[in-house]
């Protein structure tokens, strides 16, 4: 067995390390995934005014910024039993969903694509043929003209010839795991450039109601502050226009591109490349009307896709046997002398990410979990998006539980959101039309309970996000976060069960162990976000059920 250390894992948020052990055939037999930074925003939150929790917790992450902001405020609202006006809920949802689109596109093109696209190969592409190929994946391919591809190729050629490769320096170019044709490479790279513009534009949508992004600033306990934007028709139109543009890109570039990858890597999908334990967790959310919501909640165990269990938050526990905590305190046991993780003994700790478990099992959350659960629970809005994709690619639902499948689920979800986000805008406009312009629920802070506990569960781009707050004497006494990446990047636990990332790595074969592109591919498919993932456990112990209260969170 030979150990390979990959640190830093780039093209993710934060500081992630992977160590894999490979056998003589270069097949991964064991994997350790480790969060390498401890920040401890929760400690900063202690003794603060609960109303400020959002402003501070928002800074947990600059990528998933508005979801932490919202979750913190929602947890405080939950603690105080404050329900917010419908308009505020919609505005928060609109900001969150625009972030979904931004994150998913940035993830696919800028954080993940270079695991599939060989930049140097694109230089050999025939631009005419490229536009023909684009036609096979979409009836109306995005910016599909010979001249456009000639231009992109030219730009790329000049960039490469200039001799400074910048972000493309020392990439895995020429690696055998790259399977796309020169034309396919050029097609996808042209969208890499377009997507840079996309993510700049879509962020304006978040800023319309959020004042800015990253780190919006308009959510407050009791509602939102951007009421003047909400009642301004021009702002609403601007939001709609931006979303139309992004829908266009998602339908004509993103989704077809993922179909292309799916076809090129069909073999891998069918071989179950990147499959893990098959435990999926989704809390659902985003109401479309009184009876329907965008995502259903539910839990799937061991690839039994047909059996969706109801989600119960009392079943969440946390395990820190292999994480750098002891009881309620950070407890760093360092690395080995050579800088590798201490993993020799079963009790060795090796990550700042703790290990949340559901019914004692590691769970995967994120687009794949959402798509599987919603589909299986018969969400009639989601269903056609999934069916159409599977049919176009000749796949079955279970094929999605793979590395390429995770990307497919993310793209399906993006197309789905970009369709139904307009429904939410409509709901908002309907309210305003009938003179409901409330954006804040009045409360007198002094009269609120001085001791309280609250929590909030949300579906966010990378999966399930939960914030927990404990208030004493009107101050935050304790704060805790379990982010999507906490679930997905969790280390092993006391039962020696691997985390979802680790399990997905087992069994993959490396073409060239000195250039472990395949490991990146598997990890990137989860869209890791480490700043979010690392959080201390609460002072009271491991079980979270004590937070369980009767009022159901309004999502």
């Amino acid at each position: 067995m030979k150990k390979i250390v990959i640190d830093p894992i780039t093209r993710i948020e934060g500081h992630l390390r992977a160590e894999v052990e490979i056998d003589e055939n270069n097949v991964v037999r064991e994997a350790y995934v480790s969060g390498q930074l401890f920040r401890g925003i929760e400690i900063i939150l202690k003794n603060r005014d609960p109303r400020d929790a959002g402003l501070l917790a928002g800074r947990i992450c600059g990528v998933c910024t508005n979801v932490h902001f919202r979750a913190a405020i929602s947890a405080v609202e939950d603690a105080y039993g404050i329900t917010i006006p419908a308009n505020s809920e919609i505005i928060r949802d609109l900001m969150a969903l625009a972030l979904f689109l931004q994150d998913h596109v940035v993830h696919f093109y800028h954080l993940h694509l270079l695991d599939y696209v060989d930049v140097t190969k694109a230089l050999e592409a025939d631009p005419e043929l490229t536009s023909e190929i684009a036609q096979t994946y979409s009836s109306e391919p995005y910016r599909n003209s010979d001249t456009h591809y000639i231009e992109v190729k030219e730009k790329l050629k000049k960039f490469v010839d200039a001799g400074r490769l910048g972000l493309f320096s020392n990439g895995y170019w020429g690696h055998k795991a790259y399977r796309l044709t020169p034309e396919e490479n050029l097609l996808l790279l042209s969208h890499y450039l377009e997507a840079l513009k996309f993510q700049t534009d879509i962020s304006k949508a978040v800023a319309i109601f959020g004042a800015k992004t990253p780190h919006p600033q308009t959510i407050v306990v009791g509602g939102v502050t951007s009421v003047a934007d909400m009642i301004n028709p021009q702002r609403l139109n601007m939001f709609i226009e931006i979303l139309k543009e992004s829908k266009d890109f998602i339908e004509r570039a993103y989704l077809p591109d993922v179909r292309l990858i799916t076809r090129a890597y069909r073999e891998d999908i069918k071989a179950g490349y990147g499959r893990n334990e098959g435990n999926f967790l989704c809390v659902g959310g985003f109401p479309l009307d009184k009876a329907h919501q965008l995502f259903e909640g539910g839990v799937i165990f061991g690839h039994e896709l047909e059996r969706v269990h109801p989600f119960e938050e009392s079943k969440i526990t946390e395990n820190v046997d292999r994480a750098w905590y002891e009881g309620d305190e950070p407890h760093y046991t360092d690395l080995n002398e050579d800088g590798t993780l201490k993993t020799r003994n079963r009790e060795d700790k090796y990550s700042w990410v703790k290990a949340p478990r559901y019914e004692g099992k590691p769970m995967e959350c994120g687009p794949l979990a959402r798509v599987l659960v919603s589909y299986q629970k018969g969400n009639r809005f989601m269903k056609p998006f999934v069916d159409e994709f599977l049919e176009a690619c000749g796949l079955e639902l279970s094929d999605l539980t793979t590395t390429v499948g995770r990307n497919a689920a993310r793209a399906i979800e993006s197309a789905y959101i970009s369709e139904y986000i307009f429904k939410l805008v409509n709901n908002l406009i309907e309210n305003i039309k009938y003179y409901d312009t409330d954006t804040w629920s009045r409360y007198a802070f002094e009269e609120l309970p001085h001791q309280a506990k609250g929590r909030a569960f949300f579906e966010v781009p990378r999966g399930v996000l939960s914030h927990f707050v404990q208030i004493k004497d009107q101050k935050i006494a304790n704060y805790q976060v379990i982010a999507p990446t906490t679930w997905n990047a969790s280390p092993k636990d006391s039962e020696d069960q691997r985390g979802p990332y680790e399990e997905a790595l087992i069994g993959i074969r490396l073409e060239d162990p000195s250039r472990p592109l395949e490991v990146l591919r598997v990890l990137h498919a989860f869209d890791p976000c480490l700043a979010c993932a690392v959080h201390i456990i609460d002072a009271q112990g491991k079980a979270l059920s004590k937070y369980k209260i009767n009022s159901i969170c309004s999502i």
Partner: protein
């Protein structure tokens, strides 16, 4: 001066131009001046006094006569004032220096017209010589290179009224008295060629309306090869390059014909893209036009034309190449490659105008005076060659996220055209050993040349071990120190890396706020979502920290001007100010916070 009535030329010496000039040449020049009858020349004369009435010079007194009501007084020639130096430094006609431009006090250097190089009695009269002297002085000061001042052969070409004058002069021999002279005159053509010869070698040439090949004479003077008088005679009228057409641009007939032939120039208009001949003083325009017309037959209709742009590009490349060669000479360790130059320039794909616009914007952004534009431009141009390392330490990637949302210029222009972002964990293609190789390479091979951008705080507790990066598990602190040691410039971005305040922004948010009018009128939002909130009233009562923060948010806003926290109805939380997390990140007024 068509309308001038009288022109008086006062000459301090007793000759025009040069003492040694033959009387034939003198006569040619003089008669050219006197031909119109308006000019009088007074030798050994100068202005000694003047009368001024109500701010006007009404009379000039010269040594020999008075001039009443002068309209225009024009002085030509330079005589530097070195009186201040005469007491302390050795002086002759100028301040005396050795060949390194040091004066008698070795810590004081003198260059230019003020300096007289003692060994050759030389005083510079041309810009070229002055620059050369400055170079010599600088290289001596910095001890970088042993350079002695040795003046080069100078060529003056003047088109004065009715005649052309060419003077090829070797400063080395400029004081030479013992020379022989061959003078060839052709009264009919008003031509005088004077060859100053010493020991069979040419030391100077002065020509009036001369047509010889100046380049050839320049070589003769410089290389000091023996002259062949009969050759000079044979070539006295037409040199290989033909007649001198444009003395301003030093362009001969043959040169012009070549340009016309090579680029298929069909008229004077088109010629302008290739040379300024005929356009500087304009005297030779007619001749130039005639040559273009006469040379049309030389153009090969099947020859591919080089466009002016291509030509300009070639010139630009040559200039940059020269610059790089110089850079490499001065920095032998850092051999910049010139091979990819052309592609590199194409890749930047920036027209000058676009570049200038961007530079102006950036300069203004940094609140720098427009004079800094040149500096910024230079910086940006070199940035392309300089690697940028972006380190993410204890961060949330918020700055990186904001960075990729930059709009003017767009992020793709930025990373493909403007900067070479070689290391940035969020965006770079390589990871692990491969990405660290990139980092190591920059740090060890490009010391003092890369720019380091730092995002995020630096964990110091537990010996920095709250953050480990890279295969060897370096702490964030170690990595930062390693990268910072030889960085040319370190920029910290965001409130985690730099705990405010921002020096560049002097404008207080409150003063530039769009809701300031409501503050003055006492119109305040009293609770979230109230009528005031819907009308966009002042947020001071809701804890807006605009009065305590200095930043450009109200004017620039965020996400391409979409909004900012006051517009979003929340108010400012002073996130650029020192310790904002502890002091300002609240929703209540300052005084309410205890």
């Amino acid at each position: 001066m068509k309308d001038a009535k009288h022109i008086t030329l006062l000459v301090r010496s007793n000759r025009l131009y040069a003492h040694s000039l033959s009387s034939e040449a003198q006569n040619e020049i003089e008669s050219a001046y006197l031909k119109s009858g308006k000019v009088r020349i007074s030798y050994e004369n100068e202005i000694i006094d003047r009368t001024i009435i109500e701010g006007h010079i009404t009379q000039l007194k010269t040594k020999k006569f008075d001039i009443d009501e002068p309209y225009l007084i024009f002085g030509v020639g330079i005589q530097p004032n070195i009186d201040f130096a005469r007491e302390s430094l050795a002086c002759n006609r100028g301040i005396l220096t050795n060949d390194f431009m040091q004066t008698s006090d070795e810590d004081i250097y003198a260059v230019g017209e003020a300096a007289e190089v003692e060994s050759i009695g030389f005083i510079a009269g041309h810009v070229k010589e002055c620059t050369l002297q400055a170079d010599v002085a600088l290289s001596h000061l910095f001890g970088s290179e042993e350079k002695r001042f040795a003046p080069e052969v100078s060529v003056d070409m003047l088109k004065v009224g009715e005649f052309d004058l060419i003077d090829v002069n070797s400063p080395e021999h400029s004081k030479e008295k013992a020379f022989e002279k061959i003078v060839m005159t052709s009264p009919g053509e008003h031509r005088v060629d004077e060859y100053y010869i010493k020991d069979d070698k040419l030391i100077r040439f002065i020509g009036i309306n001369s047509n010889v090949d100046v380049g050839y004479l320049e070589d003769l003077v410089r290389d000091q090869n023996p002259i062949d008088a009969s050759y000079l005679y044979k070539n006295r009228v037409l040199s290989e390059r033909g007649r001198l057409i444009c003395s301003c641009e030093h362009l001969y007939q043959k040169d012009l014909e070549d340009i016309v032939r090579m680029h298929g120039v069909s008229n004077f208009q088109e010629l302008g893209e290739f040379t300024q001949a005929g356009r500087v003083c304009g005297r030779c325009k007619k001749m130039v036009e005639n040559i273009i017309e006469a040379s049309q037959g030389l153009i090969d209709p099947n020859m591919p034309k080089k466009s002016a742009d291509e030509l300009k590009h070639e010139k630009e490349l040559a200039r940059v190449r020269e610059r790089i060669e110089k850079f490499n000479r001065l920095h032998p360790q850092n051999q910049l490659d010139t091979d990819n130059l052309s592609s590199a320039m194409d890749a930047y794909d920036i027209t000058d105008r676009e570049m200038n616009r961007w530079v102006s914007m950036v300069t203004a952004d940094m609140q720098l005076h427009p004079e800094f534009e040149e500096l910024v431009k230079k910086g940006v141009r070199t940035l392309n060659k300089v690697p940028v390392i972006w380190l993410e330490l204890a961060d949330c990637s918020g700055n990186s996220e904001a960075f990729i949302k930059t709009a003017d210029p767009s992020i793709s222009d930025l990373i493909f055209d403007y900067i070479s972002l070689d290391y940035h964990e969020l965006l770079m293609s390589s990871a692990g050993d491969q990405s660290e190789t990139v980092l190591e390479h920059i740090i060890s091979h490009q010391k003092g040349e890369y720019i380091l951008i730092v995002e995020g705080a630096i964990p110091l507790g537990m010996e920095g071990k709250f953050l480990r990066i890279g295969p060897q598990g370096q702490t964030g602190l170690e990595l930062l120190k390693k990268c910072a040691e030889d960085a040319a410039l370190i920029i910290s971005v965001g409130a985690c890396a730099f705990d405010g305040p921002l020096w560049a922004y002097e404008g207080r948010i409150h003063d530039n706020c769009e809701r300031r009018g409501h503050y003055e009128l006492g119109e305040f939002v009293k609770e979230w979502g109230d009528e005031g909130a819907k009308k966009g009233w002042c947020l001071f009562e809701m804890g807006c920290k605009g009065p305590y923060a200095n930043a450009n948010c109200p004017t620039m806003k965020f996400n391409q001007g979409t909004s900012w926290p006051v517009q979003g109805g929340h108010g400012c939380m002073g996130c650029v100010e020192t310790k904002f997390f502890d002091r300002l990140a609240t929703e209540r007024k300052m005084e309410e916070e205890k």
